[in-house]
Symmetry: C2
Subunit: 210 residues, 2 copies
């Protein structure tokens, strides 16, 4: 397709597409003359992905570049590529210089899950557990096991929809699925609390549909 | 106890305590002379809560004031007080002027939960569902039901640890528990993905403990 059609199909303005081409975020089209190029479905798809990562997920372009790099030149090791891709997502948590995450290690050992201090979510869990502790609501053993069981079930649902284990597809799905479903899950938990509270406490708004 | 002991027990600097007293966030001590006052355990507890809300949860002082107001002058309706308290937590999502949240309404009807468009998490769910849709990963029916089942089980664990249904205690627990356990759950989901991926894909870091 011509550039004009690419612009129309993607909804991305010309100046932005040119910028992505210059920066190498969008591969060049097939040259069909000195000033014209032909674009394909992969260009439409790539622009949709960049748009989702920047506008919907809200990532800075440097993070988008990292993710696209992992998609375009997949490492031999899909597992490592997934870890690197997820690490660019917020929240940005500083890694411990000694790689020491005592609360996260204890929690993961307690629930029998992989403890890999190089994985960004370990530092994230450590920080979140320390915060709960500092606020006087430390994570208890019973809650930890309960959460772990249900979170693992949710993760299994996510993995069941993984579109194959090819690195590029897996990276794209994992990044988008992690970033987009976290806020959905957080909102659903607040709504489940409200649903339970309405049954426990009654109250004016306790009637469904009001 | 004297002010000096309150400062030591709470770890909050004098200037900050004086500011909280002036602003009415901390109730005055019992006057025992023209320039001295006696403070009790409730002052230590209140300072710990303000510290948790500002430093750990990261709320602005205006939000802390709203929450303390709900704790100090509980409404007759605990259910409504909880809704107001949770509404001050991030993310700040703009309410629809017409109170219209079609995706959230359809999702909550589908899973048989209370739909109350005045509750802030409804707008939050609507925005999150719209984002997933815009990025090409709309929430499917199967995923919705799976998520809902496990999120409700997590919410039941949370409610089981509610320290009584007295409004002031319920508000404090709900605000802290919502804000502090959301990042824990998000990190746990990423770690569960990694644990599953290590079994599915192997990879260099796939051995627990490496």
């Amino acid at each position: 397709m011509k550039m004009s059609e690419l612009l129309q199909r993607s909804g991305v303005p010309l100046a932005t597409v040119k910028y992505y081409l210059r920066e190498g975020l969008l591969p060049p089209g097939e040259s069909i003359g000195a000033t014209r190029a032909d674009y394909g479905e992969e260009h439409v798809r790539r622009l949709a992905l960049i748009r989702a990562l920047t506008e919907v997920v809200g990532l800075p372009l440097a993070s988008v570049r990292t993710i696209l790099g992992l998609i375009d030149e997949p490492e031999a090791d899909t597992f490592a590529a997934l870890g690197r891709a997820i690490a660019v997502l917020p929240p940005a948590v500083e890694a411990d210089p000694d790689g020491d995450y005592p609360r996260a290690r204890a929690a993961l050992e307690e629930i029998g899950q992989l403890y890999d201090p190089g994985y960004a979510a370990v530092a994230q869990l450590e920080q979140a557990l320390a915060a709960a502790e500092a606020a006087g609501l430390p994570m208890g053993r019973e809650r930890l096991h309960g959460y772990a069981r249900h979170v693992m079930a949710i993760a299994e649902l996510d993995l069941a929809q993984l579109p194959g284990t090819e690195t590029s597809r897996a990276v794209e799905y994992s990044v988008l699925g992690t970033a987009l479903y976290e806020p959905i899950l957080a909102a659903m938990r607040r709504l489940a609390h409200q649903d339970l509270a309405s049954r426990l406490l009654g109250g004016a708004a306790g009637e469904p549909g009001l």
